[in-house]
Symmetry: C2
Subunit: 468 residues, 2 copies
């Protein structure tokens, strides 16, 4: 009897799925945004999907897999873009979709199971006491909170609260270790960084305690500009308006808004750049006054004054932003891809201008304004009209040579997609919490190849990656 | 029959007070923080206090005073420090204390009459839906919302929301003009600046619509440092923590905390500088982690872990900060006074250091961290061990020569206490709304002496100031 068969026997009481087509479907995320990852990972699949209904069932899975040396890759909704939740060496897909209960809500705080869908959490918090989460990805309506914490970094709301990495944006994580006898740990404060944004390589997050903020009616607004850089100036000033409550500011260069936002197309000229905003309803007078200060800005659409039919048929503004911009682009032009860039304060505007001038129509700009270390600056998720991997790497190098770090979404490891160095805290915790290295193998270079040279420009190839 | 007697006859149905002692008391604010204003204004008094109970009654007062050429000085609670509400030419004190109803509360918005006490508004908003105002002065428990808007600039909460001047921090003002037939105006957006921070010189604010934010249990924390500048570094970094929700950050140099904070003295060494903080209760784990990152910081007091008896007997943290620091100082050392300084971003820390080194124990530092044009920086309300007016002016000049603008709290005019230039918007609105110049005379130089030269270093002396 193979290890896998033995595992199935041991977990007979749990919800298991081994239909290869379904298992493969549950082994994928949005890695195919990247033509590079698409080629590398398209064949990747796990062997078995287990969908536990409780923490006890997860412990049962972990114990069994530990004993049988079977890898475990934890999965939320599979909305990542870096192959975060793809089982490079096969094994078990631990699907937390059924661990989705909101356990308690009080002023400023929600406690929730890791597999809960982010928009569902907000629905409950709004109904309970007019509250909502501080941050969410553009995959608000599909992503899980645990997946966001394990594989995301920020998103809508980051203009007010920075990113998940910032102290205070996660209050507590309940984490299971991958040992003969899994331990239950409650992490707070500095300890949170042991498992946050670790792709589930060093523990299983089962429950999270998150800060809440006030929920308001957010008005979706599109502001149009003839020149993209005027839109950037506008966005930068708007982000620095201390009293004007917004939740999202995304300048997007023409012709992306017209060409990719199919249902908003009628509001946008092809040569118009757009700043996508979400504004608190009670701030709309102030917002309109702010727009009137800028002779180059014109409001193309605001949901609070729109026809009811439009409001119903249009996607929400957050589904035009962050990686939904790319997603909409891929539907229209399947050949595109994207990058993730930081334009560091205080030179963000000049750096954006430099990259726009250098790369023009090959890399149409898409910025996301955020608070970063206390300052308003922007990330970029520019569209890349992809030709070759070589040219893609040149474009990345051009950004880095111009002082704009790239969080490379064409790599599947934590380090290459992130800070390009070993995270000693996460590595040390993995040694404790996953001594056999069974959790999501191949994602942490520091574990797989401690001698890897991040300055080598060499692609890390995980030796355990299942052959195509 | 004098004009005043005729006024009393015409307003016979209203609540009037002409007992000279009470009238004088209602003619004063906290101008005596300044030895200069104390000398200039100590004798100032109105002739009659009128306390209307409705907007209709205010209109009755304005019509009568307009017809009789009697000045009207509007008063909230008299908690200003610049003589904002002192009737330099006598006349009517329009006391709005009875116009204090909370009219409606919805998510993000409260509508309230101008005379409502700020803490009372918050009590109602908290009970209604867990909300509170964004900003309040340290005189939270006594000041009115209308007085704050007409004569204040920011305070507790400005670390998150900037100042009242920022678009979005006031939604709507209902304003009466001083004409034969007073008009009722509803101002929003850009128009708000016509009457905000105009000391009631160009209209009577009767109703305000303010944005609300989420109310939390705020934990009062005192963090101690051996060196003041280490406290400043800590405060600066704390203000730049995007995910750590605080409402107040005030570094105060030794020996002020020990010597002036009598009920907190037991927690503080004489040579210890302190950073006074208010932190959301659910952020205390993150806050403690943040403090542990700084080897020079130690938590001296936190209200969430304090004895119940302490919590009951100690004043709240906001009553150690802003101008309550000065007030506590005046009780211990009546000879002191203070300044209001801006240390502009990005050199705020170096500018603070320069001023501390230049002025030492003569001007013990007290900073208030705020968001200002999108950046975290600090205002100062340093204690000044006052000797002469000449030396005070030297100290002011030293600040300005070192790039730290002073909002001079030793002047009673809008311009000298503010931007040192004519506010054309306010002046134009005064011409419309107060054609006879009867509202709070002597406070707007641009009205009284259009040829006044702000660069002359000459003190503006209002010719209409009643003789001592």
């Amino acid at each position: 009897m193979s290890n896998l068969d033995q595992l199935k026997t041991e977990l007979a009481g749990l919800q298991l799925e081994d239909n290869p087509q379904i298992v493969k479907q549950k082994s994928r995320d949005f890695f195919w945004y990247s033509p590079v990852l698409k080629q590398q990972l398209d064949h990747v699949t796990g062997d078995l999907v287990v969908t536990p209904k409780s923490e006890e069932e997860i412990i049962q899975v972990l114990k069994a897999c530990y004993a049988l040396d079977i890898p475990v890759t934890t999965r939320g909704a599979g909305t990542g873009n870096y192959g975060q939740a793809m089982p490079l060496s096969g094994g078990v897909i631990l699907n937390l979709a059924e661990l989705n209960k909101v356990k308690s809500i009080r002023p400023g705080v929600v406690v929730v199971e890791a597999g809960a869908i982010i928009s569902k959490i907000d629905e409950e918090c709004r109904a309970h006491s007019g509250q909502e989460l501080r941050l969410h990805p553009s995959t608000y309506r599909t992503a899980t909170i645990g997946g966001f914490i394990a594989g995301g970094s920020g998103g809508v709301g980051s203009i007010n609260w920075g990113g998940l990495r910032d102290l205070g944006n996660v209050i507590r994580l309940r984490v299971l270790t991958m040992e003969a006898e899994p331990r239950v740990l409650e992490l707070t404060g500095e300890d949170l960084h042991k498992v946050m944004h670790a792709y589930g390589t060093n523990g299983i997050i089962t429950e999270v305690e998150m800060p809440l903020t006030a929920a308001y009616d957010w008005v979706d607004v599109l502001v149009g500009f003839d020149e993209f850089m005027d839109g950037v100036q506008f966005a930068d000033r708007l982000g620095n308006q201390d009293g004007l409550l917004v939740k999202e500011i995304a300048p997007i260069a023409a012709p992306v808004p017209h060409d990719y936002f199919l249902r908003h197309k009628k509001f946008i000229r092809k040569d118009q750049s757009v700043v996508v905003c979400m504004v608190a309803s009670f701030a709309m007078d102030a917002f309109a006054a702010f727009v009137r200060r800028n002779s180059k800005a014109s409001i193309l659409y605001r949901s609070d004054l729109a026809d009811e039919a439009d409001v119903k048929s249009l996607p929400p503004a957050y589904e035009l932003a962050w990686n939904h911009t790319t997603l909409r682009g891929l539907r229209v032009e399947p050949g595109i891809t994207y990058l993730q860039v930081l334009y560091p304060f205080p030179d963000q505007i000049e750096k954006v201008r430099t990259m726009v001038e250098l790369l023009g129509d090959e890399v149409p700009a898409h910025l996301e304004y955020v608070r970063f270390d206390g300052k308003i600056t922007c990330f970029g998720l520019p569209i890349v009209r992809y030709t070759t991997e070589e040219r893609l790497n040149e474009i990345i190098k051009l950004h880095e040579d111009n002082g704009c770090p790239v969080f490379n979404p064409h790599r599947y490891t934590l380090e290459e997609g992130g800070m390009k160095q070993t995270d000693e805290v996460q590595l040390a915790f993995k040694k404790e919490a996953d001594p056999k290295g069974l959790l999501n193998p191949g994602k942490m270079i520091a574990w797989e190849d401690p001698s890897y040279d991040y300055k080598s420009d060499k692609l890390f190839l995980f030796p355990g990656l299942q052959p195509a």
